[in-house]
Symmetry: C2
Subunit: 234 residues, 2 copies
DNA sequence: GCTTTTGAACTGACCGGTCAGTTCAATTTC
DNA sequence: GAAATTGAACTGACCGGTCAGTTCAAAAGC
Protein backbone atom coordinates (compact mmCIF):
# COMPACT_ATOMS: atom_id res chain seq x y z
CA UNK A 1 0.00 0.00 0.00
CA UNK A 2 1.65 3.10 1.22
CA UNK A 3 5.41 3.30 0.80
CA UNK A 4 5.79 3.33 4.52
CA UNK A 5 5.24 5.20 7.72
CA UNK A 6 6.17 8.83 7.41
CA UNK A 7 7.80 8.95 10.76
CA UNK A 8 9.60 6.62 13.11
CA UNK A 9 10.24 3.54 11.05
CA UNK A 10 9.46 0.57 13.24
CA UNK A 11 12.59 -0.87 14.71
CA UNK A 12 13.91 -2.91 11.84
CA UNK A 13 15.96 -0.90 9.37
CA UNK A 14 19.03 1.24 9.86
CA UNK A 15 17.81 4.49 11.30
CA UNK A 16 18.32 6.31 8.05
CA UNK A 17 19.43 9.88 8.16
CA UNK A 18 18.90 9.96 11.86
CA UNK A 19 20.20 12.81 13.93
CA UNK A 20 23.88 12.48 13.64
CA UNK A 21 26.37 13.34 16.40
CA UNK A 22 26.07 17.12 16.19
CA UNK A 23 29.59 17.77 17.34
CA UNK A 24 31.40 16.23 14.44
CA UNK A 25 30.49 18.36 11.48
CA UNK A 26 32.33 18.96 8.28
CA UNK A 27 36.08 18.86 8.25
CA UNK A 28 36.37 19.62 11.93
CA UNK A 29 37.09 16.13 13.07
CA UNK A 30 40.46 14.74 12.22
CA UNK A 31 39.24 11.16 11.92
CA UNK A 32 38.37 11.32 8.27
CA UNK A 33 35.97 8.51 7.86
CA UNK A 34 34.40 7.81 4.54
CA UNK A 35 31.16 9.21 5.80
CA UNK A 36 32.77 12.44 6.90
CA UNK A 37 34.11 12.96 3.43
CA UNK A 38 30.69 12.45 1.93
CA UNK A 39 29.14 14.88 4.37
CA UNK A 40 31.78 17.43 3.50
CA UNK A 41 31.09 17.05 -0.19
CA UNK A 42 27.40 17.54 0.47
CA UNK A 43 28.07 20.66 2.51
CA UNK A 44 30.13 22.17 -0.24
CA UNK A 45 27.60 21.37 -2.89
CA UNK A 46 24.73 22.68 -0.80
CA UNK A 47 26.36 25.93 0.20
CA UNK A 48 27.07 26.93 -3.36
CA UNK A 49 23.69 26.01 -4.71
CA UNK A 50 21.74 27.59 -1.89
CA UNK A 51 23.78 30.77 -2.12
CA UNK A 52 23.01 30.94 -5.81
CA UNK A 53 19.36 30.02 -5.77
CA UNK A 54 18.09 30.20 -2.26
CA UNK A 55 17.02 27.35 -0.03
CA UNK A 56 13.68 26.39 -1.48
CA UNK A 57 14.69 26.72 -5.10
CA UNK A 58 17.50 24.27 -4.54
CA UNK A 59 16.46 20.66 -4.95
CA UNK A 60 17.92 17.69 -3.19
CA UNK A 61 18.56 16.12 -6.56
CA UNK A 62 20.74 19.07 -7.52
CA UNK A 63 22.71 18.88 -4.31
CA UNK A 64 23.32 15.20 -4.76
CA UNK A 65 24.36 15.64 -8.36
CA UNK A 66 26.78 18.47 -7.61
CA UNK A 67 28.28 16.48 -4.77
CA UNK A 68 28.62 13.48 -7.03
CA UNK A 69 26.58 11.14 -4.88
CA UNK A 70 23.23 9.49 -5.17
CA UNK A 71 20.11 11.04 -3.76
CA UNK A 72 19.72 8.23 -1.31
CA UNK A 73 23.09 9.12 0.15
CA UNK A 74 21.83 12.54 1.13
CA UNK A 75 19.11 10.95 3.20
CA UNK A 76 21.48 8.41 4.59
CA UNK A 77 23.62 11.24 5.94
CA UNK A 78 21.02 13.83 6.85
CA UNK A 79 17.54 13.45 8.19
CA UNK A 80 16.15 16.04 5.79
CA UNK A 81 17.04 18.91 3.53
CA UNK A 82 16.33 21.31 6.37
CA UNK A 83 18.60 19.48 8.78
CA UNK A 84 21.39 19.50 6.21
CA UNK A 85 21.03 23.26 5.97
CA UNK A 86 20.96 23.81 9.72
CA UNK A 87 24.10 21.80 10.25
CA UNK A 88 25.68 23.78 7.46
CA UNK A 89 24.89 27.05 9.24
CA UNK A 90 26.36 25.83 12.49
CA UNK A 91 29.45 24.60 10.74
CA UNK A 92 29.93 27.95 9.05
CA UNK A 93 29.65 30.18 12.07
CA UNK A 94 32.28 28.14 13.80
CA UNK A 95 34.72 29.04 11.07
CA UNK A 96 33.92 32.75 11.24
CA UNK A 97 34.04 33.25 14.99
CA UNK A 98 37.24 31.27 15.24
CA UNK A 99 38.74 33.43 12.57
CA UNK A 100 37.71 36.69 14.22
CA UNK A 101 38.78 35.55 17.63
CA UNK A 102 42.16 34.47 16.35
CA UNK A 103 42.70 37.84 14.73
CA UNK A 104 41.91 39.58 17.97
CA UNK A 105 44.07 37.26 20.06
CA UNK A 106 47.06 37.44 17.78
CA UNK A 107 46.88 41.20 17.75
CA UNK A 108 46.76 41.27 21.53
CA UNK A 109 49.73 38.92 21.74
CA UNK A 110 51.83 41.14 19.55
CA UNK A 111 50.90 44.08 21.75
CA UNK A 112 48.67 45.90 19.30
CA UNK A 113 46.12 48.49 20.40
CA UNK A 114 42.43 47.80 20.42
CA UNK A 115 41.94 49.87 17.31
CA UNK A 116 44.57 47.66 15.75
CA UNK A 117 42.55 44.75 17.00
CA UNK A 118 39.47 46.02 15.18
CA UNK A 119 41.57 46.55 12.14
CA UNK A 120 42.86 43.01 12.32
CA UNK A 121 39.32 41.74 12.61
CA UNK A 122 38.30 43.72 9.56
CA UNK A 123 41.09 42.01 7.69
CA UNK A 124 40.09 38.63 9.02
CA UNK A 125 36.52 39.31 7.99
CA UNK A 126 37.56 40.23 4.49
CA UNK A 127 39.70 37.15 4.29
CA UNK A 128 36.85 34.95 5.42
CA UNK A 129 34.41 36.41 2.96
CA UNK A 130 36.79 36.11 0.05
CA UNK A 131 37.40 32.52 0.98
CA UNK A 132 33.81 31.52 1.62
CA UNK A 133 31.76 33.91 -0.51
CA UNK A 134 28.90 31.51 -0.95
CA UNK A 135 28.58 30.91 2.75
CA UNK A 136 28.54 34.62 3.38
CA UNK A 137 25.91 35.31 0.76
CA UNK A 138 23.80 32.65 2.28
CA UNK A 139 23.98 34.15 5.75
CA UNK A 140 23.19 37.61 4.50
CA UNK A 141 20.19 36.35 2.62
CA UNK A 142 18.72 34.61 5.63
CA UNK A 143 19.88 36.67 8.58
CA UNK A 144 17.11 39.21 8.95
CA UNK A 145 14.34 37.06 7.61
CA UNK A 146 11.44 36.50 9.93
CA UNK A 147 9.24 33.44 10.29
CA UNK A 148 11.97 31.00 9.51
CA UNK A 149 12.38 27.65 11.07
CA UNK A 150 16.07 28.22 11.67
CA UNK A 151 15.57 31.73 13.02
CA UNK A 152 17.06 30.79 16.36
CA UNK A 153 20.08 29.15 14.81
CA UNK A 154 20.78 32.29 12.85
CA UNK A 155 20.38 34.60 15.81
CA UNK A 156 22.86 32.52 17.72
CA UNK A 157 25.22 32.66 14.80
CA UNK A 158 24.99 36.44 14.52
CA UNK A 159 25.34 36.92 18.23
CA UNK A 160 28.53 34.91 18.41
CA UNK A 161 30.19 36.89 15.65
CA UNK A 162 29.06 40.28 16.93
CA UNK A 163 30.10 39.43 20.46
CA UNK A 164 33.74 39.18 19.42
CA UNK A 165 33.60 42.68 17.97
CA UNK A 166 31.74 44.04 20.97
CA UNK A 167 34.37 42.65 23.31
CA UNK A 168 37.11 44.43 21.42
CA UNK A 169 35.15 47.69 21.51
CA UNK A 170 34.47 47.33 25.20
CA UNK A 171 38.11 46.70 25.95
CA UNK A 172 39.05 49.68 23.84
CA UNK A 173 36.75 51.95 25.79
CA UNK A 174 37.96 50.57 29.09
CA UNK A 175 41.53 51.25 28.02
CA UNK A 176 40.61 54.84 27.22
CA UNK A 177 41.49 54.22 23.64
CA UNK A 178 37.98 54.66 22.29
CA UNK A 179 35.44 57.32 23.12
CA UNK A 180 33.09 56.52 25.97
CA UNK A 181 30.25 57.95 23.94
CA UNK A 182 30.09 55.08 21.52
CA UNK A 183 27.23 52.64 21.58
CA UNK A 184 28.85 49.24 21.76
CA UNK A 185 26.09 47.16 20.24
CA UNK A 186 25.23 49.51 17.44
CA UNK A 187 28.82 50.26 16.57
CA UNK A 188 29.60 46.57 16.43
CA UNK A 189 26.67 46.04 14.08
CA UNK A 190 27.71 48.94 11.93
CA UNK A 191 31.29 47.72 11.65
CA UNK A 192 30.09 44.25 10.84
CA UNK A 193 27.84 45.64 8.13
CA UNK A 194 30.55 47.86 6.77
CA UNK A 195 32.85 44.93 6.21
CA UNK A 196 30.10 42.64 5.00
CA UNK A 197 28.70 44.90 2.34
CA UNK A 198 32.02 46.27 1.20
CA UNK A 199 33.38 42.77 0.85
CA UNK A 200 30.40 41.43 -1.02
CA UNK A 201 30.52 44.37 -3.39
CA UNK A 202 34.21 43.83 -3.83
CA UNK A 203 33.66 40.18 -4.72
CA UNK A 204 30.75 40.92 -6.99
CA UNK A 205 31.84 44.03 -8.79
CA UNK A 206 35.57 44.54 -8.45
CA UNK A 207 37.02 41.07 -7.88
CA UNK A 208 40.33 42.05 -9.41
CA UNK A 209 41.24 44.28 -6.48
CA UNK A 210 43.48 42.95 -3.75
CA UNK A 211 42.48 42.31 -0.18
CA UNK A 212 45.06 44.86 0.97
CA UNK A 213 43.46 47.45 -1.20
CA UNK A 214 40.00 46.90 0.22
CA UNK A 215 41.37 46.65 3.71
CA UNK A 216 43.10 50.00 3.35
CA UNK A 217 39.88 51.69 2.33
CA UNK A 218 38.01 50.31 5.28
CA UNK A 219 40.83 51.18 7.65
CA UNK A 220 40.51 54.82 6.67
CA UNK A 221 36.86 54.73 7.55
CA UNK A 222 37.48 53.01 10.87
CA UNK A 223 40.17 55.46 11.82
CA UNK A 224 38.03 58.42 11.02
CA UNK A 225 40.07 59.70 8.14
CA UNK A 226 37.03 60.02 5.93
CA UNK A 227 34.58 62.32 7.62
CA UNK A 228 36.50 63.53 10.61
CA UNK A 229 40.17 63.18 9.86
CA UNK A 230 40.70 66.78 8.96
CA UNK A 231 38.57 68.14 11.74
CA UNK A 232 40.14 68.82 15.09
CA UNK A 233 38.21 66.91 17.75
CA UNK A 234 36.48 69.01 20.37
CA UNK B 1 -17.15 53.51 -23.04
CA UNK B 2 -15.25 51.62 -20.46
CA UNK B 3 -14.69 52.71 -16.88
CA UNK B 4 -11.52 54.14 -18.23
CA UNK B 5 -8.51 52.32 -19.50
CA UNK B 6 -5.52 53.16 -17.37
CA UNK B 7 -3.30 53.77 -20.30
CA UNK B 8 -5.48 53.68 -23.39
CA UNK B 9 -4.69 50.23 -24.65
CA UNK B 10 -4.60 50.50 -28.42
CA UNK B 11 -5.65 46.95 -29.07
CA UNK B 12 -9.06 45.49 -28.54
CA UNK B 13 -8.93 42.98 -25.78
CA UNK B 14 -7.66 43.34 -22.24
CA UNK B 15 -4.22 41.97 -23.15
CA UNK B 16 -4.10 39.85 -20.06
CA UNK B 17 -1.18 40.36 -17.73
CA UNK B 18 0.78 42.09 -20.41
CA UNK B 19 3.66 44.36 -19.63
CA UNK B 20 2.02 47.27 -17.98
CA UNK B 21 3.17 50.88 -18.28
CA UNK B 22 6.22 50.73 -16.05
CA UNK B 23 6.01 54.34 -15.05
CA UNK B 24 2.82 54.17 -13.09
CA UNK B 25 3.48 51.75 -10.31
CA UNK B 26 2.10 51.63 -6.86
CA UNK B 27 0.72 54.68 -5.18
CA UNK B 28 2.82 57.02 -7.24
CA UNK B 29 0.08 58.06 -9.59
CA UNK B 30 -2.70 60.17 -8.19
CA UNK B 31 -5.33 58.80 -10.56
CA UNK B 32 -6.52 56.00 -8.35
CA UNK B 33 -8.26 53.64 -10.66
CA UNK B 34 -9.59 50.39 -9.42
CA UNK B 35 -6.76 48.53 -11.02
CA UNK B 36 -4.13 50.73 -9.44
CA UNK B 37 -5.60 50.03 -6.07
CA UNK B 38 -5.48 46.30 -6.70
CA UNK B 39 -1.89 46.45 -7.85
CA UNK B 40 -1.00 48.40 -4.76
CA UNK B 41 -2.63 45.82 -2.54
CA UNK B 42 -0.72 43.08 -4.32
CA UNK B 43 2.56 44.91 -3.89
CA UNK B 44 2.00 45.31 -0.20
CA UNK B 45 1.03 41.71 0.25
CA UNK B 46 3.95 40.46 -1.81
CA UNK B 47 6.64 42.55 -0.18
CA UNK B 48 5.75 41.34 3.29
CA UNK B 49 5.45 37.72 2.37
CA UNK B 50 8.60 37.61 0.28
CA UNK B 51 10.57 39.39 2.96
CA UNK B 52 9.40 36.82 5.46
CA UNK B 53 9.76 33.69 3.41
CA UNK B 54 11.80 34.46 0.36
CA UNK B 55 10.68 34.55 -3.24
CA UNK B 56 10.29 30.91 -4.07
CA UNK B 57 8.74 29.89 -0.78
CA UNK B 58 6.04 32.45 -1.27
CA UNK B 59 3.13 31.15 -3.30
CA UNK B 60 0.93 33.16 -5.55
CA UNK B 61 -2.03 31.83 -3.61
CA UNK B 62 -0.66 33.35 -0.44
CA UNK B 63 -0.09 36.70 -2.08
CA UNK B 64 -3.60 36.72 -3.45
CA UNK B 65 -5.11 35.72 -0.15
CA UNK B 66 -3.21 38.36 1.81
CA UNK B 67 -4.19 41.00 -0.72
CA UNK B 68 -7.79 39.88 -0.51
CA UNK B 69 -8.17 39.08 -4.19
CA UNK B 70 -8.47 35.92 -6.23
CA UNK B 71 -5.47 34.20 -7.69
CA UNK B 72 -6.57 35.04 -11.19
CA UNK B 73 -6.41 38.70 -10.36
CA UNK B 74 -2.72 38.42 -9.78
CA UNK B 75 -2.30 37.12 -13.30
CA UNK B 76 -4.64 39.70 -14.65
CA UNK B 77 -2.40 42.42 -13.26
CA UNK B 78 1.02 40.86 -13.71
CA UNK B 79 2.37 38.60 -16.39
CA UNK B 80 3.94 36.26 -13.85
CA UNK B 81 5.09 35.95 -10.30
CA UNK B 82 8.56 37.01 -11.41
CA UNK B 83 7.30 40.11 -13.18
CA UNK B 84 5.34 41.11 -10.11
CA UNK B 85 8.53 40.88 -8.12
CA UNK B 86 10.59 42.80 -10.63
CA UNK B 87 8.12 45.65 -10.74
CA UNK B 88 8.15 45.65 -6.98
CA UNK B 89 11.91 46.05 -6.95
CA UNK B 90 11.81 48.91 -9.41
CA UNK B 91 9.10 50.59 -7.44
CA UNK B 92 11.11 50.29 -4.26
CA UNK B 93 14.38 51.65 -5.53
CA UNK B 94 12.60 54.70 -6.79
CA UNK B 95 11.49 55.47 -3.27
CA UNK B 96 14.98 55.01 -1.85
CA UNK B 97 16.95 57.01 -4.36
CA UNK B 98 14.46 59.85 -4.21
CA UNK B 99 14.75 59.88 -0.47
CA UNK B 100 18.56 59.92 -0.49
CA UNK B 101 18.71 62.54 -3.20
CA UNK B 102 16.28 64.77 -1.36
CA UNK B 103 18.32 64.54 1.81
CA UNK B 104 21.43 65.55 -0.09
CA UNK B 105 19.70 68.39 -1.92
CA UNK B 106 18.05 69.83 1.14
CA UNK B 107 21.33 69.79 2.99
CA UNK B 108 23.01 71.60 0.14
CA UNK B 109 20.26 74.20 0.04
CA UNK B 110 20.65 74.99 3.67
CA UNK B 111 24.36 75.38 3.12
CA UNK B 112 25.51 72.27 4.95
CA UNK B 113 28.92 70.73 4.38
CA UNK B 114 29.39 67.52 2.45
CA UNK B 115 29.99 65.60 5.62
CA UNK B 116 26.68 66.98 6.80
CA UNK B 117 25.27 65.77 3.52
CA UNK B 118 26.47 62.25 4.23
CA UNK B 119 25.05 62.53 7.69
CA UNK B 120 21.71 63.61 6.28
CA UNK B 121 21.75 60.66 3.94
CA UNK B 122 22.43 58.31 6.81
CA UNK B 123 19.40 59.71 8.54
CA UNK B 124 17.33 59.40 5.39
CA UNK B 125 18.49 55.82 5.00
CA UNK B 126 17.51 54.97 8.55
CA UNK B 127 14.17 56.60 8.04
CA UNK B 128 13.56 54.65 4.88
CA UNK B 129 14.47 51.34 6.43
CA UNK B 130 12.30 51.90 9.46
CA UNK B 131 9.43 52.77 7.18
CA UNK B 132 9.87 49.95 4.72
CA UNK B 133 11.60 47.19 6.67
CA UNK B 134 10.18 44.40 4.57
CA UNK B 135 11.32 45.98 1.35
CA UNK B 136 14.79 46.41 2.77
CA UNK B 137 15.03 42.84 3.98
CA UNK B 138 14.01 41.70 0.59
CA UNK B 139 16.74 43.66 -1.16
CA UNK B 140 19.39 42.45 1.20
CA UNK B 141 18.36 38.88 0.71
CA UNK B 142 18.55 39.07 -3.06
CA UNK B 143 21.22 41.63 -3.77
CA UNK B 144 24.33 39.50 -3.96
CA UNK B 145 22.72 36.34 -5.18
CA UNK B 146 24.08 35.01 -8.42
CA UNK B 147 22.25 33.21 -11.20
CA UNK B 148 19.04 35.08 -10.68
CA UNK B 149 16.69 36.11 -13.41
CA UNK B 150 16.41 39.63 -12.02
CA UNK B 151 20.14 40.01 -11.51
CA UNK B 152 20.31 42.96 -13.87
CA UNK B 153 17.38 44.70 -12.24
CA UNK B 154 19.06 44.43 -8.89
CA UNK B 155 22.39 45.70 -10.14
CA UNK B 156 20.67 48.72 -11.57
CA UNK B 157 18.87 49.26 -8.31
CA UNK B 158 22.03 49.08 -6.27
CA UNK B 159 23.92 51.29 -8.65
CA UNK B 160 21.36 54.04 -8.44
CA UNK B 161 21.43 54.14 -4.68
CA UNK B 162 25.21 53.93 -4.39
CA UNK B 163 25.66 56.60 -7.04
CA UNK B 164 23.99 59.19 -4.84
CA UNK B 165 26.43 58.46 -2.03
CA UNK B 166 29.38 58.43 -4.38
CA UNK B 167 28.44 61.84 -5.74
CA UNK B 168 28.41 63.31 -2.26
CA UNK B 169 31.79 61.76 -1.50
CA UNK B 170 33.24 63.02 -4.75
CA UNK B 171 31.98 66.54 -4.11
CA UNK B 172 33.38 66.40 -0.63
CA UNK B 173 36.81 65.45 -1.90
CA UNK B 174 36.67 68.15 -4.58
CA UNK B 175 35.81 70.70 -1.94
CA UNK B 176 38.81 69.63 0.08
CA UNK B 177 36.52 68.56 2.85
CA UNK B 178 37.33 64.86 2.61
CA UNK B 179 40.68 63.17 2.26
CA UNK B 180 41.85 62.56 -1.26
CA UNK B 181 43.03 59.14 -0.21
CA UNK B 182 39.57 57.68 0.08
CA UNK B 183 38.34 55.14 -2.40
CA UNK B 184 35.03 56.53 -3.58
CA UNK B 185 33.37 53.29 -4.65
CA UNK B 186 34.46 51.22 -1.71
CA UNK B 187 33.71 53.90 0.85
CA UNK B 188 30.25 54.36 -0.58
CA UNK B 189 29.65 50.63 -0.34
CA UNK B 190 30.94 50.54 3.18
CA UNK B 191 28.77 53.44 4.30
CA UNK B 192 25.77 51.88 2.64
CA UNK B 193 26.47 48.62 4.44
CA UNK B 194 27.03 50.33 7.72
CA UNK B 195 23.62 51.94 7.64
CA UNK B 196 21.93 48.88 6.23
CA UNK B 197 23.14 46.39 8.78
CA UNK B 198 22.91 48.72 11.73
CA UNK B 199 19.35 49.60 10.80
CA UNK B 200 18.26 46.03 10.28
CA UNK B 201 19.76 45.03 13.59
CA UNK B 202 18.05 47.99 15.23
CA UNK B 203 14.71 46.92 13.81
CA UNK B 204 15.22 43.30 14.64
CA UNK B 205 16.82 43.41 18.03
CA UNK B 206 16.36 46.85 19.60
CA UNK B 207 13.19 48.24 18.04
CA UNK B 208 12.45 50.35 21.09
CA UNK B 209 15.35 52.70 20.39
CA UNK B 210 14.72 55.97 18.62
CA UNK B 211 15.94 56.90 15.19
CA UNK B 212 17.89 59.78 16.70
CA UNK B 213 19.66 57.41 18.97
CA UNK B 214 20.76 55.12 16.17
CA UNK B 215 21.63 58.06 14.00
CA UNK B 216 23.87 59.49 16.69
CA UNK B 217 25.80 56.24 16.96
CA UNK B 218 26.39 56.08 13.22
CA UNK B 219 27.34 59.76 13.09
CA UNK B 220 30.13 59.10 15.54
CA UNK B 221 31.46 56.42 13.28
CA UNK B 222 31.21 58.57 10.18
CA UNK B 223 32.93 61.48 11.84
CA UNK B 224 35.77 59.36 13.05
CA UNK B 225 35.06 59.67 16.70
CA UNK B 226 35.26 55.96 17.23
CA UNK B 227 38.63 54.82 16.08
CA UNK B 228 40.33 58.10 15.35
CA UNK B 229 38.53 60.77 17.30
CA UNK B 230 40.89 60.86 20.20
CA UNK B 231 43.97 60.73 18.06
CA UNK B 232 45.28 63.96 16.71
CA UNK B 233 45.41 63.73 12.93
CA UNK B 234 48.80 64.06 11.35
C1' DG C 1 30.39 -9.03 7.69
C1' DC C 2 29.36 -4.50 8.84
C1' DT C 3 28.81 0.01 7.12
C1' DT C 4 28.05 2.90 3.45
C1' DT C 5 26.56 3.99 -1.05
C1' DT C 6 23.85 3.40 -5.15
C1' DG C 7 20.05 4.42 -8.19
C1' DA C 8 15.77 3.79 -9.59
C1' DA C 9 11.02 3.74 -8.44
C1' DC C 10 7.17 5.65 -6.23
C1' DT C 11 3.98 8.81 -3.68
C1' DG C 12 1.45 12.65 -2.53
C1' DA C 13 1.41 17.28 -1.72
C1' DC C 14 2.12 21.55 -3.66
C1' DC C 15 2.34 25.24 -6.96
C1' DG C 16 2.58 28.30 -11.17
C1' DG C 17 -0.12 29.31 -14.67
C1' DT C 18 -4.68 28.97 -17.47
C1' DC C 19 -9.24 29.98 -18.80
C1' DA C 20 -14.25 29.89 -19.14
C1' DG C 21 -17.35 32.23 -16.70
C1' DT C 22 -19.18 36.20 -13.54
C1' DT C 23 -19.68 40.90 -11.88
C1' DC C 24 -20.85 45.58 -12.22
C1' DA C 25 -20.06 50.51 -13.06
C1' DA C 26 -19.92 53.35 -16.92
C1' DT C 27 -21.90 54.18 -21.24
C1' DT C 28 -25.20 54.04 -24.85
C1' DT C 29 -29.73 53.59 -26.66
C1' DC C 30 -34.41 54.69 -27.11
C1' DG D 1 -34.36 57.95 -17.14
C1' DA D 2 -35.10 52.99 -17.49
C1' DA D 3 -33.29 49.26 -20.11
C1' DA D 4 -29.73 47.33 -22.69
C1' DT D 5 -24.95 46.96 -23.70
C1' DT D 6 -20.17 46.92 -23.02
C1' DG D 7 -15.80 45.27 -21.44
C1' DA D 8 -12.31 45.82 -17.88
C1' DA D 9 -11.70 43.60 -13.72
C1' DC D 10 -12.10 39.75 -11.21
C1' DT D 11 -13.00 34.82 -9.92
C1' DG D 12 -11.72 30.09 -8.63
C1' DA D 13 -11.69 25.40 -10.25
C1' DC D 14 -8.56 22.95 -12.76
C1' DC D 15 -4.28 21.05 -15.11
C1' DG D 16 0.32 19.57 -15.68
C1' DG D 17 4.63 19.55 -13.81
C1' DT D 18 7.85 19.43 -9.92
C1' DC D 19 9.88 18.05 -5.83
C1' DA D 20 10.78 16.35 -0.92
C1' DG D 21 10.76 12.45 1.07
C1' DT D 22 10.71 7.31 1.26
C1' DT D 23 11.86 2.70 0.13
C1' DC D 24 14.77 -1.09 -1.09
C1' DA D 25 17.46 -4.54 -3.38
C1' DA D 26 21.91 -4.77 -4.83
C1' DA D 27 26.63 -3.32 -5.04
C1' DA D 28 30.80 -1.43 -3.13
C1' DG D 29 33.98 -0.41 0.29
C1' DC D 30 36.81 -1.27 4.48
Amino acid sequence: MSPGPVDAAPGTRPVRGATYPPGTIGAMDSSNTRRQATRQKLFEAAVTLIAEQGFSSTTVDEIAERAGVAKGTVYYNFASKTVLFEELLRHGVELLTTSLQNASDENAERGGSHVDGLDAMIRAGLHFISRYPALTQLYVAELWRTNRAWQSTLMMVRQRAIAVIEAELRDGVAAGELSEDIDIALTASALFGMVLVAALDWQSYQPERSLDDVHAALSLLLQGRVGGGAVAPG
